[in-house]
Symmetry: C2
Subunit: 479 residues, 2 copies
């Protein structure tokens, strides 16, 4: 009991201060440390191992859907960034500029890529000539830099890691299909691997990507009721193609502009894992992306046979699971706390009495549930328990989202909904006008998260101006 207490004191509780709880977990679970430049982060081994697992899952899906990985340069000449006007307007305020190489001042400033649309476009212009060259389905894994004023590890940092897909198609239909297809890929990574339920929808004009015709998004809800944009997929139309001259000769002999898409998924999803599944004892990592799924903690390990048995178990289980063992001379209680803080899904305790009875103790991180398992049944029990954890984490997150989603017919209900439970999603009808969207943000702090793919009609009129409604919108305060 005293050991538990020790940790409760070490990290702030979620209810007390969610933001502080978040940064506590990020640090105490050894995910991140701060870099020497304000707002930059060091992704530590445990955090990076989670990212590697997410990356591997997503990379396979990206390749399975026919995309090829490439690598584009880090620097963009200023003149190139300026070719697409909406794009430069959106990104200019948040780019870092290189002005000197060695001791020489450069003739033209170089921007450190905040995203790579213009680099891909400049390349596509050179390699696309005929309809036979289409579609071009490229992706890259890289770092990008955005000069953010307010930063928070994973969620909003000076530099982050991501993948960015960039594709060219002969027709609008095909490019739009790609835009939707890649959003589904992102949704599947979130739901099936990260156990994070997502809302799929379209961004409003105000919230879409700078330079896109439209932006699709998956939005997830954090434990505190705030929204996190978790992946976006943009249909770029022919705007970039026109600015960069990406043309192909079609089968009919005519010269046409390509239709483009881009889509990205980032390290901020590690932040989502923390804020969706974590609790007052720390991180909870979904089994499918957990660097260590099962941690073995020997009990009374100085007694004869305990360590041998513990290592034997590790050996045996390693064929099927990602297994760790802590045979250090620290106290078991310390170890329990440490691996709970790190959110390792399952703990196995094994001591002299267990060995005598040919059993082990299995402890779930998410529920704290403890069961004694016959060693002959250990593998099947672990398999089914990991599956249960994965599913129940998803279900719990879904319940949280449903509990914290309200319907508002007028602004009174809207504001009530946002104050109740400290936030959540508000479903409300909208007229489609920018002024109303801005007014709602000003009055409530909530932004439009998306127009969901599956639209209900909750009312005839806009929640704000009361004129005829065009769309159902999910609103929420966001990270």
């Amino acid at each position: 009991m005293s050991k538990k207490k020790q940790f409760v004191e070490e990290i702030t509780s979620m209810d007390q201060d969610f933001a502080k709880w978040y940064t506590d977990v990020v640090k105490k679970a050894d995910l991140v440390d701060y870099g020497p430049v304000r707002g930059s982060m060091i992704i530590r081994p445990y955090g990076y191992a989670i990212w590697e697992n997410i990356r591997d899952v997503l990379d396979k899906k990206i390749k399975d859907t026919g995309h090829e990985n490439v690598y584009m340069p880090l620097f963009i000449p200023e003149s190139l960034l300026q070719k697409e006007k909406d794009h430069i307007e959106g990104f200019a305020p948040e780019v870092a500029w290189v002005t000197h190489g060695g001791s020489e001042e450069l003739a033209e400033r170089l921007c450190v890529r905040p995203t790579s649309e213009v680099l891909f476009c400049e390349h596509y212009k050179d390699i696309i000539h005929s309809y036979r060259d289409l579609p071009k389905l490229y992706n890259q894994w890289s770092n990008v830099v955005r000069w953010e004023k307010t930063t928070r590890p994973f969620l909003r940092s000076l530099e982050f890691l991501w993948q960015e897909g960039h594709t060219c198609h002969a027709t609008k239909t095909e490019a739009e299909e790609e835009t939707y297809k890649m959003l589904e890929v992102y949704a599947s990574v979130c739901e099936d691997y990260l156990a994070i339920p997502v809302l799929k929808g379209k961004k409003t004009e105000k919230e879409k990507f700078a330079g896109a015709d439209f932006t699709l998004t998956i939005e997830s809800m954090m434990h505190d009721g705030k929204a996190l944009q978790s992946g976006t997929s943009h249909y770029l139309g022919t705007g970039f193609a026109e600015a960069f001259g990406i043309q192909y000769t079609d089968q009919d002999g005519e010269l046409k502009h390509v239709h483009q898409t881009s889509w990205g998924f980032t390290t901020r999803l590690i932040g989502a894992i923390i804020m969706v599944h974590g609790d007052d004892r720390g991180l909870v990592v979904p089994p499918k992306v957990a660097p260590t799924q099962v941690m073995i903690v020997p009990i009374a390990q100085h007694k004869e046979g305990v360590l041998d048995k513990a290592y034997e178990l590790k050996e045996q289980l390693s064929n099927q699971f990602r297994v760790g063992i802590d045979a250090s001379d620290k106290m078991p209680g310390w170890k329990f706390n440490e691996y709970e803080m790190k959110g390792i899904p399952l703990r196995i305790e094994i001591g002299p009495k267990d060995i005598e009875k040919n059993q082990a103790v299995l402890v779930r991180r998410d529920t704290g549930e403890k069961v004694f398992v016959d060693l002959n049944d250990l593998e099947s029990e672990i398999t089914s328990t990991l599956e249960d954890i994965q599913q129940e984490l998803f279900q719990k997150a879904l319940n949280n989202r449903e509990t914290k989603t309200s319907v508002a017919i007028n602004m009174g209900e809207f504001e009530d909904a946002l104050t109740r439970d400290g936030g959540g999603f508000v479903k409300a009808m909208w007229c489609g006008k920018l002024e109303c969207e801005e007014k709602i943000k000003e009055e409530t702090g909530a932004t439009s998260r998306c127009i969901p793919f599956e639209e209900d009609k909750l009312a005839d009129n806009c929640v704000s101006c009361n004129e005829q409604a065009k769309h159902l919108v999910y609103w929420g305060k966001a990270y």
Copy 2:
């Protein structure tokens, strides 16, 4: 015959102009395109797929030797870079400087990492306290920027991809062991996967890494006799630890500085593959890292059953090999040339007559050898042929190196050796003095490549000054 000729005309021959041949292959094999900033490169899908294979092999070895991956920030404040004096002196002339974030001028310039020693040191200072925290075995995969004046794709470019290992140890012995161990890992990747034989040795003081106590290197020889530094591993001593204050309390209660290493392996190895194995028909990729090991080309594919059989073969072989198929409407001759240019190790031709006889034609990229293989024996034949290719590529490269390695007792022999075959390695004794090393470079253009781990004594005196010799050195002109 006319098809062959077509390609011979398209790329410069090696003997005529090796440098031009190299850039021709890089472009025609679709490995690289030039980026919008001078000296930057776009790594295209085929080039990146080779890099992914190299990375996967090396990443596994790095993890198997107990290292953990992390991610450090891209930017280094100028004051941090200046903490270790030798280091900043070595790197300052070739770094890119960020001076503005958005529209604001920064209070302190930020350097885009040319390597990350100082970032790791600044982090290690915070996380290492006790002997229990040691060793710390970290690695990162990232991009780095070096503002080079003369650039060439893969070999020397403004930005490249690499991994950099950074480790801290309690003792000198342990850190030195690590330095040697990681050089062996690099040597194994080169020899066992890239089929590139390497010389292992120590760099002279002049050629060592800026800030290191000593640098170990693997040196390989390109087809034209020039050397390529292919991987380096540095013992940093306690210099960085002293500059950054990385100290730990030892078991004896005393505060001590850690001993450090760093080591790196880069995309330049793709350049080595090109220049070691390539020929006048293009690239030759060693089977173990080839993105496609076997390319199926259907012959007379409009005839009934040919395409079905070809796809059936692809399906069947894909369990064991990385297999491609080209069922496009291009002529088989065009396809042969294309996949020879790309250096795919094996081609399978299958047409109506082959199907009748239950056979296929297997063509080796490296030797051009053609064999008819019974379809029942296809898998075993491919397995053994890929193994043969891998081995023979290595042997051929080794023969090239041995043929182009000479012994020189005096400077006359030294210069003769360098002009014969247009270069190669010269083995010659050296007194250990910087002046002689510089003089040899000035007179011959050759630099010291390494003092080999296995030293012979070829003569008593230095090849240049004729005073007493200290070391055998491999000299050569280098990329």
